[in-house]
């Protein structure tokens, strides 16, 4: 892994004191996984689960199969870079290519079979402005 070397002493203290605002710059480095499958299995399945079916507890993570909103590849790309409710924004963690790759993976797995692909240029256009908070309003 080639992540910026930073000790958690700094992170923990900023998390605790600065309301996490400053903490972002410490750990929002890029995820190392490349390719849709590696990214999905390395990150996304933490919540959406290995079978893509999501999970239900007091709250829920949505299933990725059979969700009509995935008909547009821009939708999952936007959710990934901007976040949505409980889903954190990952704009700082993924390159445009990584987002495109995992979107294309999701849209061709878990019962999805969309033929069209999303490219990095689509992702780039959906990213939040750099200075703005990563939340659409």
């Amino acid at each position: 892994m080639t992540r910026t070397f930073i000790f958690q002493t700094a992170l923990a203290a900023t998390l605790a004191t600065a309301g996490q605002a400053a903490a972002q710059s410490f750990y929002d480095g890029p995820f190392p996984q490349q390719g849709g499958e590696a990214i999905y299995k390395g990150i996304c399945q933490g919540c959406h689960m290995p079978d893509g079916k999501g999970a239900v507890g007091a709250g829920a993570y949505p299933a990725l199969g059979g969700d009509k909103r995935l008909q547009s590849g821009a939708y999952p790309a936007m959710v990934i870079v901007r976040g949505q409710k409980a889903m954190p924004p990952f704009a700082n963690n993924f390159s445009d290519q990584q987002v495109a790759d995992v979107v294309n993976y999701i849209r061709t797995h878990f019962g999805n079979a969309y033929a069209d692909k999303v490219g990095p240029e689509t992702v780039k256009a959906l990213r939040p402005p750099p200075a703005a908070e990563q939340r659409p309003e």
Binding site: I6, A12, A13, L15, A16, I43, G46, M49, G57, R135
Partner: protein, 531 residues
Amino acid sequence: MADDSSAPMTRRSLFTLIGVAAGGAVMLEAMSSLAYAGESGYQGPIQLSGDPKGTSVLILGAGLAGMCAAYELRKAGYKVQILEYNDRPGGRNWSLYGGDTYTELGGFTQTVGFDKGLYLNPGPWRIPHHHYAVLDYCKRLGVMLEPFTQVNYNAYVHSTKAFGGKPQRYRTVQADFNGYVAELLAKSVRQNSLDQAVTKEDREVLLTALRQWGALDKDWNYAKGVDSSGRRGWASDPGGGTTSVPIPSDPLAMSDLLQSGLWGAIGAGLGYEFQSTIFQPVGGMGMIGKAFGRQLDGVIRYGAKVTDIRQDDKGVTATFIDSKTGGPPQQARGDWCICTIPATVLGQTPINVGAPMKAAIDALYYDASLKVGLQFKRRFWEQDEQIYGGITYTDQPNGVIGYPNADMFSSGKGVLLGAYAFGGPAFEFAAMPPEERVARMVEYGANIHPQYKTEFDNGVAVAWHRVPWTLGCAGHWTEALRAQHYDNLAAMDGRIVLAGEHVSRIPAWQEGAILSALDTIRRLHQRVMAA
């Protein structure tokens, strides 16, 4: 003191210089004090005077916020009931013990194999001395506290990329870093390089201070000898009788130390939240939740998953189902509702509040975090390495190794905190099955303590994005989000008001949860009394 216009600049310049030289640690201190110079604002036990005349309050969530609210409102004469998703009180105030079973989202189930009395705190694990509310409730509820060691000079700082991956004692890195900074600064002062910044009167005082602070020798050097070894320890300790000659140790080379980055690991104890003395409950953090739960016996309906929250002009009705078996919807009602359900979960729950509060709820996602508890057959960190409590810091993804701050010198097994990860690594670990998380932590730990390989017994891993009732560890506030949404999240919306760490300015801390609850019930009580 006269307001000499040159004086403040002098001190500031000096501070800046030290800041540049000292880097992370001092910068951290400055950041912390800037961010939260204030105290928690706890004024002692809350007084809610006046008769609420049987007013009822429905509370959603039996974490510290919900239970604190119930405890105080009942005392003030309110009728209270709590709906709780879990089958235990406490929420994120939680300890896992041997025999406990924990099932995370996706159905991955772990049965904890720890020996009796040993535990992992998956959530909070320490209480600052200025978190007055938490400490006061511990006292009032009979929760015994003991010191939590934040800084252990004999624990390690570790980088896979420095000193051949060999962990260094915290003590040596701190002594050497301070020593070299003091030496450089002393040289500058003695060469009169800082005449603009330091007055003649201050010059000698500063030199004396630097010699003391940095353990410099008579020639103003930080060098091998009795002065430096008095801080970093000896190659051979002084003893008795014929073997008593102490042998000084060799400081790390300054360039090696700077390039190692290990100086970034010696600042944790400088932060306001971490300054000695801080505390932990005897027997696990979860003792606080249990104590509240005992007080509220009969008030809490466990295993209740809230599916709808609806207010009208007379009260609030929560619809819920059994969180394990489902079954027919049931309802609970109160004249008012205090909702402590995490924003991540509440955002998915139908609730008729106004658009501003709803937008605030939906704006907050929760951070990623991972904690792993590892049981070992013997307490080798104490027996072999003389590490009693405290924390080792590493650049590996596990982040830290936390040593138990209790049962020291016990000949039995021991449980280490094998990981406390945030951010990117925490997301990655959440994507692994629990047993793989544990296996990884054993690998990482073995690079610091080779004994891991032979002494490992069993482990348990809690990745907070897989926790079914929080979907993350704590609300992720930024300054911009606060400016936009915080007031709307905290404001009463008709008969509904929210509480919890996410409705506080001490996010992720239990103190925030309790202060939020106290502020909530104070406002609610005012409203009731005014009616």
